[in-house]
Amino acid sequence: MIAPLLSVEGLTKRFGALLVSDSVTFAVEERELHALIGPNGAGKTTLINQLSGTLPSDAGRILFADEDISHLPLEARVRRGLARSFQITSILPDYTVLENVALAIQARSGSSFRFFGRVGQERALNDEATAVLTRVGLVGRSTARAGTLSHGEKRLLELAIALACRPRLLLLDEPFAGLGQEESQASIALLKELKSDVAIVLVEHDMDAVFSLADRVSVLVNGRIIASGTPDTIRVDPLVRNAYLGDEELA
């Protein structure tokens, strides 16, 4: 049996007396899109923060590509191929769109302790950044300052930066939040395309998106995974239907 790409065992997080992640256990296979759903306050973002290394865990283990990464900081996990996007857009507002993406490429290709070459003129970085921006459909805005982008464009840039890290597993925290109908559709199409070469853990409230994209779905309620399975089994799971007051969302 081949070990899964990501395997999480008994992951726990407390904020004071509050148990936010309650021994969470689940696994993500290579090239799987694994959706995490659950009501507000279920602890989805906390879990993403623990998986990515943004927040230390109180107990439990995270195995990524057969390596125990439980105690590695965020940046070390990214270098091993575990990249994330943020629910609240996190970009470099003073840099151009291209520079934002090129930084992520620079981070994994060669040393950043180079002091004399003009980084702006590094063809390899710029070309690859342009390719990533083309893929997400933001190439037309390459020279714009990131801070001046619209909300939807910033979400795309956030995704482009994560992709530019060339991850094996992508943690996406509500990538469609605040997007218009058209932008959402484009992003969903993009994720469908990405699925073929990168595993994804997707936190999302848009159930249409979740059920059209996910290979497997885990449902998080009060910090516990109450159900995990294919979209079809989750859709009819009584526990899940119960957790969501009014189950029309899942219909």
């Binding site: 940046e75 470099l92 507002p93 620079q106 994994r108 950043s112 002091f115 070459g117 003009r118 590094e122």
Partner: protein, 321 residues
Amino acid sequence: MTGGTAAAANSSRAWRHPAVWLFAAFLALPIPAHFGANAYILSFATHAVALGLAALSLDLMLGIGALASFGHAAYLGIGAYSVAILSDMGHDDLLVQIPVAIAVASVFAGITGFVSLRASGVYYIMSTLAFGQMLYFLAQSLSAYGGDDGVTLAARSRLAGSHLLASDLGLYYVTLAALIAAYVLLDRIVGSRFGRVLGAVRQNPMRVRAVGLDPFRYRLLASILAGSLCAVAGVLLANQSEFVSPAFMTWQRSGELLVMVVLGGMGRLWGAVLGAICFLTLEEVLPGLTDNWKMVLGALLILAALGRGSRLSQLFKGVGR
């Protein structure tokens, strides 16, 4: 707040123009000073250029890396005491003094940075201040070098065996050459891979971590680079004043360096140099107008901080953009 200067620096060369003007003015300055036979102007200009170099080095930390170090004058002290102590030991050549000053500054910046940079925000500011003060007291205890009173240098340093620095004009041009070299170096660094990471750390450290880079290392190296360049400024400043004392590294001096960088407009390098010139000119002119010039200066600083649009560089906003 620094409004895209790093991005502009990376992508365009045009913004350099103010720097070219500035340095051209410095190069030409001795000509009128010569005809006016005014040694005073030359001495003031040397002082200003040396402190301009100190402010420039601080801008790498503050303007590019958002590290508000309140202990930068310590490096002026390291440079100055390197001159005093090495000359006393018979090593009076800049080719010895500058490397030693840089080495000591690097070690001090490395150790204190290692501690301070783990802390953030107000803790960082206060701990840099305290480490600077620590060095100040160390200098004060050096009774062999005059303790609190300091020590007068027997002679200016030599340069590769020559007595170039013995003439005021020679010292001025050597100091100016150091400033221009440092400027060119930092300009390259800001536009390099390292500079891009450092600028990114200023804007959003979490984003830098999320692409797989550890902000700490870049901040630490920026601190070491800045400290080293400032130590060179200290070496030159000691030669200009021919006197070395703990007063080189008071925390008030560190505060003045910050003021210079902020007034000149952070993150554009030449702004720091301009800020130094303007601040020192103000310090030179105001006492002629009133005995209580420090009240005027203090009030000006308060107003500058309260009103955001008051930076000198705002005047040059259109230039090179």
